[in-house]
């Protein structure tokens, strides 16, 4: 009985974390790093995301009520951050000259990534660990389920099991880059920017929705 509950929850968490859908977007974010470095970043970020999820399971309610943060703020926060990341992905590299310049460099055999002058900053926590993997969706579900199930052990086990799947997919993701090649990655970055913008906007709309609901109940 218990094990079926755990696996059911694990499947839910896995689906909400959506590693398969997120992997290309995350890959586009780390495309400028070496292959081995990418795998390391993926692993680290997934572990960070796990820590955030576990932290939320145990302390979320206390922490949020202490700071007087309502649930809509968590959703809006995720949405805003994702939207900003997407904006950056679409418009920073998308000025046509830079893209053309990049492609020319690739074709003359140089490393196309040297074109962008500002030093590439390694993504830390934001945006991969949160809000992409441990996004507001996952955190809300964890909070809801831990109220429902009333057993920390079951939830923690479910999160850990879900994370086995998430970690293996994330670590395998960099191999996708080998298949796509550099041109493919630039195209992917643009496409995934759009997808991220949509996910972010979705979160924003949801947050505003909750906010308006709350306004209506108050008045």
């Amino acid at each position: 009985m218990n094990s079926s509950v755990i696996f059911g929850l694990a499947a839910t968490f896995f689906l909400v974390t959506n590693p398969i859908g997120n992997a290309p977007a995350i890959l586009a974010l780390v495309k400028n790093f070496e292959f081995s470095r990418q795998k390391w970043i993926m692993l680290r970020e997934t572990v960070f995301a796990l820590l955030i999820a576990l932290f939320f399971q145990y302390f979320a309610e206390y922490f949020l009520s202490l700071l007087r943060i309502q649930s809509y703020a968590v959703t809006l926060c995720g949405g805003t951050l994702l939207f900003l990341v997407a904006f950056h992905m679409i418009f920073s590299a998308a000025t046509p000259e830079i893209v053309i310049e990049k492609i020319e460099k690739i074709e003359t055999g140089e490393n196309g990534d040297q074109v962008k002058s500002p030093p590439q900053q390694e993504p830390f926590f934001v945006p991969i660990a949160t809000p992409l993997l441990s996004g507001p969706g996952l955190l809300t579900i964890i909070m809801l389920k831990s109220q429902e199930v009333q057993s920390h052990f079951i939830i923690t086990m479910a999160i850990l099991i879900a994370w086995i799947g998430v970690i293996s997919i994330m670590v395998l993701a960099p191999y996708l880059q080998k298949m796509l090649g550099k041109r493919g990655m630039i195209a992917l970055e643009q496409l995934m920017g759009l997808v991220l913008a949509m996910i972010g906007m979705g979160m924003l709309v949801k947050g505003v929705n909750i906010f308006i609901d709350q306004l209506n109940t108050l008045s």
């Binding site: 700071l67 007087r68 943060i69 703020a73 926060c77 805003t80 950056h88 830390f124 934001v126 306004l215």
Partner: protein, 199 residues
């Protein structure tokens, strides 16, 4: 709005002061200053910051009435400023708003103001001092958060050693996430109050 608990005030102010996020900048500032001198400088700067906070706490009511501010305005301002500050920490690629301070030993700027007692912190104090009817928890909250911040900055070299550059970066960004959440909460509260005040 009912009174806030002392712990809420302290924690929120401490998070907005964001000492952990300023460790790297602080250590860079203190390069080439002898360790005894460092303590003097730190104490002086923290004293100035505390003075600014207490001033705003004291003047809260009169600033409100003089500028004819409503509570929703202050919430919106605190939210927007805090949001932009936190976003600058999260996405450091753009040229920092805080990049252009004069070099050398910090005096008032940049450590006391705006790193510790920044505009978002002062706006929050303004807001809380207006919300909180009693003087005592507010003063206690400010002083406690201030002590915690001073201790963290005083121990900055230890933190730096234990966490390393990457660990510090991770903490910085995690706290910035919390700041974004607080700022959005403030902003939405401002909108809520605005709508309710219109009826």
């Amino acid at each position: 709005m009912n009174d806030l608990s002392l712990f809420t005030i302290t924690l929120t102010l401490f998070l907005i002061m964001d000492p952990v996020g300023h460790i790297a900048a602080y250590l860079k500032m203190m390069e080439g200053i002898s360790s005894q001198r460092r303590n003097v400088v730190l104490l002086r700067e923290m004293g100035i910051a505390l003075g600014a906070m207490l001033l705003f706490n004291l003047l809260g009511e009169s600033i409100f009435s003089y500028l004819e501010l409503s509570e929703s305005t202050v919430r919106l301002v605190a939210g927007v400023i805090l949001f932009i500050t936190a976003i600058k920490i999260l996405f450091p690629s753009s040229v920092g708003i805080r990049g252009s301070f004069p070099p050398g030993e910090p005096f008032i700027i940049p450590l006391a103001i705006p790193y510790i007692a920044g505009p978002s912190l002062l706006a929050t104090i303004l807001l809380y001092s207006n919300m909180e009817s009693q003087e005592f928890p507010m003063l206690m909250g400010i002083v406690l958060a201030w002590i915690a911040t001073s201790v963290v900055l005083w121990l900055a070299p230890v933190f730096n050693k234990v966490l390393g550059k990457n660990g510090l970066g991770a903490c910085e960004r995690l706290l910035a996430m919390v700041l974004v959440m607080i700022s959005i909460q403030r902003f939405m509260e401002g909108i809520q109050q605005f709508i309710q005040a219109r009826g």
